[in-house]
């Protein structure tokens, strides 16, 4: 399967949910997905299109567009194509279904995206902070408008 046929198959199967799909090169594809159906899309990707490897999942904050994007980078062991799939969420209340039932390794990625961006994953088996201390939850430090950086210059700056 090459990149073009993968994108074609994906848009044919989910005409409602997949938009802005594009083939960037022979090995790179991008697509946007409606947040409600991300689990179904992921299941189809894994079962039918042999995208078996969720390489990464993270968030991007766009304060001026008032959006948070969750990006899934999904690779495959069968073919050389990598898919960058994005789900656009509202910044005030970012909620999306967890893809842990499909890709089990999304567990920690989602916990990290939760603690750094505040994206709430519905049906996540264990949604709590990953590495941040517990009392920093709610600060969402990787959002662009985060104000909690040390505001006094370090005294001993060398």
């Amino acid at each position: 399967m090459d990149a073009r046929s993968i994108i074609a198959s994906l848009t044919d199967r989910f005409p409602e949910d997949i938009y802005d799909a594009d083939v960037e090169s022979d090995i790179r594809t991008v697509a946007k997905v409606k947040p409600e159906n991300v689990v179904d899309v992921c299941r189809y990707l894994k079962d039918e299109l042999s995208f078996g490897h969720l390489c990464c999942e993270f968030g991007i904050d766009y304060p001026d567009r008032n959006e948070i994007e969750v990006v899934y980078t999904i690779g495959s062991y069968e073919h050389p194509v990598v898919l960058n799939m994005k789900a656009v969420l509202p910044r005030d209340d970012p909620q999306i279904r967890s893809v842990v039932p499909v890709y089990w390794n999304a567990n920690w990625y989602e916990r990290e995206t939760y603690e750094l961006f505040g994206v709430e994953y519905i049906d996540h088996p264990n949604l709590k902070q990953l590495v941040l201390p517990e009392d920093m939850l709610g600060e969402w430090p990787l959002r662009k408008d985060y104000k909690g950086y040390p505001n006094k210059t370090a005294k001993n700056l060398v």
């Binding site: 590495v131 941040l132 201390p133 920093m136 600060e139 430090p141 985060y146 909690g148 950086y149 040390p150 006094k152 370090a154 005294k155 001993n156 700056l157 060398v158």
Partner: protein, 187 residues
């Protein structure tokens, strides 16, 4: 149980009778005389001499500087000749080396290690991160100005400083202890 209680009742009486306080040359340990004797007379010089020559440090590798800290303790630099020995338990250690960035999450654990170390104890800030935050100095997760939390005696700049720099830090610390200028001992 009864026996113990009885003895406790009896003992004060015996002490009253004998009156250790009166015997010349005998100092009761429950008075401040012992600590005064240790802290304020020339005995302190002897103690300090002993302390400065056995600065066992806590092996607490925190950042990438921790690697230099570990290397310093190994055979190549042979710090044993200065009496500087790596210890794995805070209860054996005299020197806490803050060797890297202190994250907000790690600070409570570091404080706990510090509290477990028996006095007298000293702190060395090893590396830019421990001094000011270094490359991470404006990070959301690091704690700045660690010297407001611990009584730091020696700062070693560098990213990372070399092992020789750590040995020099120990030598500086020894000089400070000898001059009674250190913050670790309560004089």
């Amino acid at each position: 149980m009864d026996e113990v209680e009885e003895r406790e009742k009896v003992e004060p009486k015996i002490f009253d009778k004998i009156g250790y306080d009166d015997i010349p040359g005998v100092v009761m340990t429950d008075t401040s005389a012992v600590s005064d004797f240790l802290k304020k007379t020339k005995v302190q010089n002897v103690l300090n001499w002993g302390r400065k020559n056995s600065l066992w440090f806590m092996v607490n590798a925190m950042g990438c500087c921790g690697v230099e800290l570990l290397a310093t303790g190994m055979a190549h630099y042979d710090t044993d000749r200065f009496g500087i020995i790596p210890r794995n338990s805070p209860r054996h250690a005299d020197v806490l080396i803050i060797s890297g960035y202190v994250t907000k999450k790690y600070l409570p654990a570091l404080k706990r290690i510090w509290d477990q170390m028996p006095a007298p104890k000293w702190v060395i800030c090893f590396g830019d991160c421990a001094i000011s935050g270094g490359p991470f100095y404006e990070s959301y997760s690091t704690h700045q100005n660690i010297d407001e939390v611990f009584p730091v005696d020696v700062f070693v700049p560098g990213c990372p400083p070399r092992c020789e720099a750590l040995i020099q830090a120990f030598v500086e610390l020894q000089k400070k202890i000898e001059a009674k200028k250190d913050k670790g001992t309560d004089y």
